[in-house]
């Protein structure tokens, strides 16, 4: 996948403001950013559903504007909202979808059986879609995206709205796909998801790319090794932050806590106490992509 100066405008609103992205075959690539960053618009363009307003976009070596049908035949798409057919059974959802790709009924049934096994839904094959849990529906949507044996799978916020256990199950299946050599392109506003799944990612904000690299590289480049999180109950934080500023490389004030960025978290926590500041709680943790995002945009990712 290769994009140069990719733009998407809706009337006077610019959703994607000219981005350059390259995704290599076989890698897991992430678009990370808050809601409204332009991730979904980008995904819809890569999926050859929405036409770019400007720039070039090539997917699997083909031009997205002219060869959309041929590209879509080799893509798997897992949309943000489940679009399963509630009037059909689990199995029928897969077979019907496979038919849209011109796959014969016999092959479609065979693949449906394999994929149900892959997403651990074989026991529910003949159940209706409606009573399935959110996690099961999501796994079925992923299975549906694989029905044409795609070379690239696009996942728009694959685990948004799922409980932790369901999320881990989805991640584990996606990891297996990656092991099989399928290229994964996903959007997320969850740090842990990006860290778990992505070889490389871009941080998007306001329709632009703010940074690009592997999760590790991004953390090294834009954050310190550790972070001290200080909470002070309901007391105002601003003047305390000013007092703490000299202790870390950087200090961020969030609505409910102060973050002090330093390479040695424990030493910094001790220094906080020596200053005579007594927080209600202290947490020392490693830096994550959340911190990268905070640094790059001055805002936190999930509000």
């Amino acid at each position: 996948m290769h994009a140069r100066g990719l733009v998407k405008r809706f009337g006077s609103f610019t959703a994607v403001a000219g981005i350059d992205v390259d995704v290599r075959a076989g890698e897991a690539f992430g678009f990370l950013g808050p809601n409204g960053a332009g991730k979904s618009s980008t995904m819809r363009m890569i999926g050859c559903v929405s036409t770019p307003t400007g720039g070039t976009l090539r997917v699997l070596g083909m031009d997205s504007r002219r060869e959309g049908v041929a590209i879509r035949a080799r893509l798997g798409v897992c949309p943000q909202q489940d679009t399963l057919d509630p009037e059909l059974t689990v199995r029928e959802n897969l077979v019907t979808y496979a038919r849209y790709f011109g796959i014969s009924r016999a092959v479609a049934r065979e693949r449906a059986a394999e994929l149900l096994d892959f997403v651990q839904l074989t026991e529910r094959a003949d159940s209706k879609v409606e009573p399935l849990s959110g996690g099961m529906k999501r796994r079925l949507t992923i299975a549906r995206a694989l029905v044409n044996e795609p070379q690239i799978v696009l996942l728009d916020e694959p685990t948004t709205g799922l409980d932790p256990q369901a999320r881990h199950l989805v991640w584990e299946r996606l990891f297996r796909l990656k092991m099989q050599g399928v290229t994964l392109v996903l959007t997320t506003h969850y740090m842990d998801e990006a860290e778990q799944l992505c070889d490389r990612l871009v941080v998007m904000d306001g329709g632009r790319i703010a940074a690009e690299g592997s999760p590790r590289e991004l953390i090294e480049r834009y954050s310190t090794r550790e972070v001290v999180e200080l909470r002070f109950g309901t007391e105002p934080l601003e003047d305390r932050a000013a007092k703490l500023a000299p202790l870390g490389e950087r200090v961020e004030v969030l609505p409910d806590r102060i973050l002090v960025y330093a390479d040695d978290g424990d030493a910094t926590a001790a220094a906080v106490h020596r200053l005579g500041v007594t927080p209600a709680s202290v947490l020392v943790r490693r830096s994550g992509l959340e911190d990268v995002f905070l640094h790059l945009t001055g805002r936190s990712l999930v509000d």
């Binding site: 999926g47 049908v69 057919d85 979808y97 790709f101």
Partner: protein, 256 residues
Amino acid sequence: MAPAFSVFEGYLVAYRRTWRSSVFASFLLPLLFVVGFGLSVGGYVDARGSLGSVRYLDYIVPGLLASNAMQMGYAESAYPVMGRFQWLGSYHAMAATPLRIVDILAGDLLFVVFRVLTSTAVFLAVASALGGVHSAWAVLVPFACVLLALAFATPGAAFTASIERDSHFALVQRFLVVPLSLFSGVFFPIAALPVALRFLAYASPLWHAVQLCRAATLPGFGLTPLAAAGHAGYLALWVGVGFWLALARFRHRLTR
């Protein structure tokens, strides 16, 4: 055409489960109309001899066949289409596959054709068992009904693709579908209408379909080939323009 058939096939798989609930609206209800109006109102009409030697029941059977097809064409393009755009997202799922927008729309319309053909055929069979069909030309009725249903389904789909809320449907039903079924020659000849309303009937696709259906079931109402072609052509024009509009609206909505 194969891609559109895959869409149609998907609807058939679902319809296998839901057809029972559609039997009432698409078949039993019109039959109740035939029996109810044909026998009750028909008693008065026939006693006065207003339609000459033609029984009132025989007069309204072709009209109700057509009016049923119109309602079905409109109904299929209202809630189901809105559901696939908004509540289920089926169209969005389809748009992510190699299907083109034209395949998606054509698949929908194939299902409309299927529904209208089957229910018109059953309706026709029952009506002829009741002695309401008097010509072998009646085999052409389902085709006229399909043309009419598409004349409503195509602009209907374009309309549904352009709106956000389903409250509009009640207005269309009240101010378009119901008046059309009352003033398009289904229950009485439009010659009985004031002149201004008569021109509305001429514009109504339903009236043209009623003319065709009545010609096919009642020998006394035959049409010249030219007139028949004119009625069919007018319906085809609606289908053509409606399809073009629907395609544009679907494309706008699904590819933005």
